[in-house]
Amino acid sequence: MANPSQLQAHKIGAPLMNQIKLKGVPILQQLHLEECLLRTSSHNWCIINQGTNHPTIVMGVSGKPAELLKIESVLCDQIPVVRRFTGGGTVVLDPSTIFVTFICNKDAVAGLQPYPQPILSWTGALYNKVFQGIGDFHLRENDYVFGDRKFGGNAQSITKNRWIHHTSFLWDYEVRNMAYLKLPARAPEYRLARGHLEFICRMKDYMSRSEFISRTIEAIKTHFSLRSAEAESIETSASFAGIQVKPDNKEFYSIGERLNIY
């Protein structure tokens, strides 16, 4: 039986991935951070954000509010609506959503072609390890499901040399928030015209939050050498000292200061 040193030894030479753990960071700021890291960093990143601070609707890059949302309710309840830079559909996110994001160089995973389906399959295999033996987990079309009920939605953006794959996991959700969404015209086949509440399920019925995060981190470590970008989870001001980014307009700034993450 291999001892810990032998097990760790095989990780020598594994690509490095920087891990950022956040808590309650607003989804708009998380998306700003992600796009910044995708476009201006040359490192691999994993971001885990436990919940956004306020219920927020997030549409994919081509989302049209009139087609996807019950606009009157959204306006009446003053729910923020954000368009993200990745593809995919519309989700309602809140403090019970868990976000896991991978931002990688295209050669970070040996043998992985930087196209949507291979990336999705790779993440599906990673989460297979996380949910092994739990609740009939699998990747179905482009979603993570238990049985035929979706609990994780995915979206990606692929540039010349890098890609991002981010997932919003419904650890829990408010029934009333789902009422802001119309039935989308583009839906996976397995949805079979089910309404939102018959289509989705809560991850908390299958696994605790802390167990999900620790299992996810262990699964990531089978591919990458993981390094925390900060010592502990962030609940107040984020400090990203030492991480300098250079966006296209040639200004240097610290991610934390610029994005005012708190």
């Binding site: 081509s62 990745t86 593809g87 995919g88 559909g89 953006s157 692929i158 010349k160 583009r186």
Partner: protein
């Protein structure tokens, strides 16, 4: 299946496309190619740009195209727009530097043209080229074909 192959051969002949029996993506002989799978057709100072059959095949059904503004600058190897396919947006990079003089507005209503006709009706932008010298760094059809074979073979 047989009639589809016959149609494909006729279409290939018309468009001067090499068709590979193993079902590889088609490559057009007179175009130049970037290693990020965009093609360019240059006629004097004018260039037409799109994504290749290899790219559309790997991306899946295109549902939205983010087009640049007419008049926007483009530069060799840099992103000028994006395509969305199901859950992913993918950058489109320009093989040439210059200025956008026309965009394919048809793609707003029919983004699937990129899948069904990547080298013809699925063209994306037309560019007034500022540096013809950059064309020398692009791949010709044979080199691009080999590039795709190596890329697919290594994964």
């Amino acid at each position: 299946m047989a009639s589809r192959l016959m149609w494909a051969s006729r279409a290939a002949s018309y468009l001067r496309i090499s068709v590979f029996h193993r079902g590889f993506a088609s490559v057009v002989k007179d175009l130049k190619y970037l290693d990020s799978h965009e093609w360019v057709k240059v006629e004097g100072k004018s260039a037409t740009v799109g994504i290749t059959d290899h790219a559309q095949d790997h991306l899946g059904d295109v549902v939205y195209v983010e087009l640049p503004e007419v008049g926007a600058p483009v530069s060799h190897g840099s992103s000028f727009g994006a395509v969305e396919s199901v859950k992913a947006t993918s950058d489109i990079n320009s093989p040439v530097s210059g200025k956008v003089v026309e965009v394919n507005e048809e793609l707003n209503n029919s983004p699937g043209l990129i899948n069904s006709s990547p080298y013809d009706k699925g063209w994306i932008i037309k560019v007034e080229v500022s540096n013809n010298g950059e064309l020398n760094s692009l791949m010709d059809a044979d080199k691009y074909t080999k590039f795709c074979e190596e890329e697919d073979g290594s994964h």
